[in-house]
């Protein structure tokens, strides 16, 4: 039956009608557009928070492993990593929204950024730490032998080299984070996923809005992957 012209005409007509019902009618596309903006805001905010936390924790852990200093901070960092990586992201999001910020009136966007940022920070920390530890021991020694202190060796010699090895992993973490924000509907944020879901509840059509949502995520992820690969190649060139 797929081969008849009649069937194709019918299918095309239905698609057009459904498309207009789901996205054009009552300007429902705005739900996706605004949701997308919210998703991007959460992701960018959380990535920045995550990088800051991750870098701090990684430096504490690496300094402790390399020099034996910062014992107490290292202890705190390890508890942080265990708790954050040992509980589901969604539970953390709910706890931060309904418990920690329960009695305070804060912007939900900020709550989401903090929750996803803290979560991402734990994973980013281990990525950065692995990168710092992967730099050859001889590089620390070369820095030290020239009279550079630990901080100078770190910032001028170790971190720039670690950056190359951690960049792909950081890119992946960004991609994971982008997708992970799709649970922010649970604290009543209207992100991209929620936008699609609202359309579904209004039109009783699940196929079109949800596939549209999936397609938008996929395009973003592919774009990010492409950027990361390009950056990797550019950094490789100076070797």
């Amino acid at each position: 039956m797929f081969l008849t012209l009649e069937w194709w005409r019918e299918a095309f007509h239905t698609f057009g009608w459904k498309f207009s019902q789901n996205f054009l009618e009552a300007s429902r596309w705005r739900l996706l557009a605004n949701g997308f903006v919210t998703t991007v805001e959460i992701t960018i905010g959380a990535v920045l928070v995550g990088l800051a936390i991750g870098f701090l924790v990684a430096v504490i852990r690496t300094t402790h492993d390399k020099t034996g200093r910062l014992k107490f901070l290292n202890f705190l960092a390890r508890i942080f990593l265990t708790v954050i990586r040992g509980t589901p992201t969604m539970v953390q999001l709910l706890i931060i929204y309904f418990v920690i910020f329960a009695s305070v009136n804060v912007d939900k966007l900020l709550v989401a950024i903090i929750a996803f940022g803290i979560n991402s920070g734990a994973y980013t920390a281990e990525i950065i730490r692995a990168g710092l530890m992967a730099v050859d021991k001889g590089q620390y020694e070369a820095g030290a032998s020239l009279g550079l202190n630990y901080y100078q060796t770190m910032t001028r010699i170790i971190v720039p080299q670690a950056f190359k090895t951690i960049l792909p992993a950081l890119g992946n973490e960004l991609i994971v984070l982008l997708k992970e924000t799709s649970i922010s509907g649970y604290i009543a944020m209207q992100d991209l996923t929620k936008g699609g879901d609202i359309i579904r509840s209004q039109t009783y059509d699940a196929f079109m809005p949800l596939l549209a949502v999936a397609a938008i995520y996929l395009i973003c992820v592919c774009g990010l992957s492409w950027c990361v690969t390009r950056m990797e190649r550019r950094l490789k060139r100076n070797e």
Partner: protein, 247 residues
């Protein structure tokens, strides 16, 4: 060199105890300005540990290290300041792969505010000229051969105007045909009066360039003599055995 000059580096009963191995067993030695001291011995004899303890790259567990009038393994000493005066050349070069040759050489002097970038660049060019690598200034370490890397590493250490240079098996990681060019540079330094302590397997270099040759075994300083004496009339049975194997 006169013997009443003060030593630049002095090890007093230097000991390094690893959990299961005694790597350095009460080694005492003094290095005077202008001397070239070569340390030889079988692998695992503690010779690398000895040289690495002299700038606290390895922390000794006992004894003292003195740089001129200062005990440097004492509490409260700013070891980074001391290391500015003690250069080190490593077996695996340890050049900074993300920086050009020129940046490798000028990073520490400029970062430590010992020189302006212009002064450091001028020094780098002069030193590169001296080791025959002037045209490599803008190359990255990954583009260089082993012997070239080690010559750059020597230049990097020299750019700090060190008062003594430590070499930890500088030619051991090199292909045989590149050993000569690095030893040539080191000979030049020795001739110019640089104080050097060299852990090496190059007996020819030790015989020709060193003022003193040390033989270490099982973490102990077994024998120490000028090269003619050291190679011509070895005293201890361990050294005789060692020399019969390597010569």
């Amino acid at each position: 060199m006169s013997n009443d000059a003060k030593p630049i580096l002095r090890a007093v009963e230097l000991t390094k105890q690893y959990p299961t191995v005694l790597a350095l067993d009460h080694v005492s030695y003094e290095i005077f300005p202008g001397q070239v001291v070569c340390v030889v011995g079988p692998s695992g004899s503690g010779k690398s540990t000895f040289i690495r303890c002299l700038n606290l790259m390895d922390e000794p567990t006992g004894g003292q290290v003195w740089f001129k009038d200062q005990q440097i393994n004492a509490p409260g000493v700013d070891i980074n300041r001391v290391r500015q005066h003690i250069g080190m050349v490593f077996q695996h070069f340890n050049l900074f792969p993300h920086l050009t040759v020129r940046k490798n050489i000028t990073l520490a002097p400029t970062l430590l505010k010992l020189k302006t970038q212009e002064e450091a660049d001028a020094t780098a060019d002069k030193l590169l000229e001296r080791v025959g690598l002037r045209e490599k200034a803008d190359a990255f370490p990954g583009q260089l051969a082993g012997g070239q890397k080690q010559r750059i590493a020597i230049v990097r250490a020299l750019a700090m105007d060190p008062q003594v240079l430590l070499f930890d098996e500088p030619t051991s990681a090199l292909d045989p045909e590149m050993v000569g060019e690095v030893l040539q540079v080191m000979k030049g330094l020795a001739k110019a009066g640089m104080t050097m302590a060299v852990v090496t397997h190059e007996m020819g270099f030790a015989r020709e360039v060193a003022n003193h040759v040390l033989f270490m075994d099982h973490g102990r300083l077994v024998e120490e003599n000028p090269p003619q004496e050291f190679f011509g009339h070895p005293q201890s049975p361990r050294l005789k055995e060692f020399l019969s194997k390597v010569l």
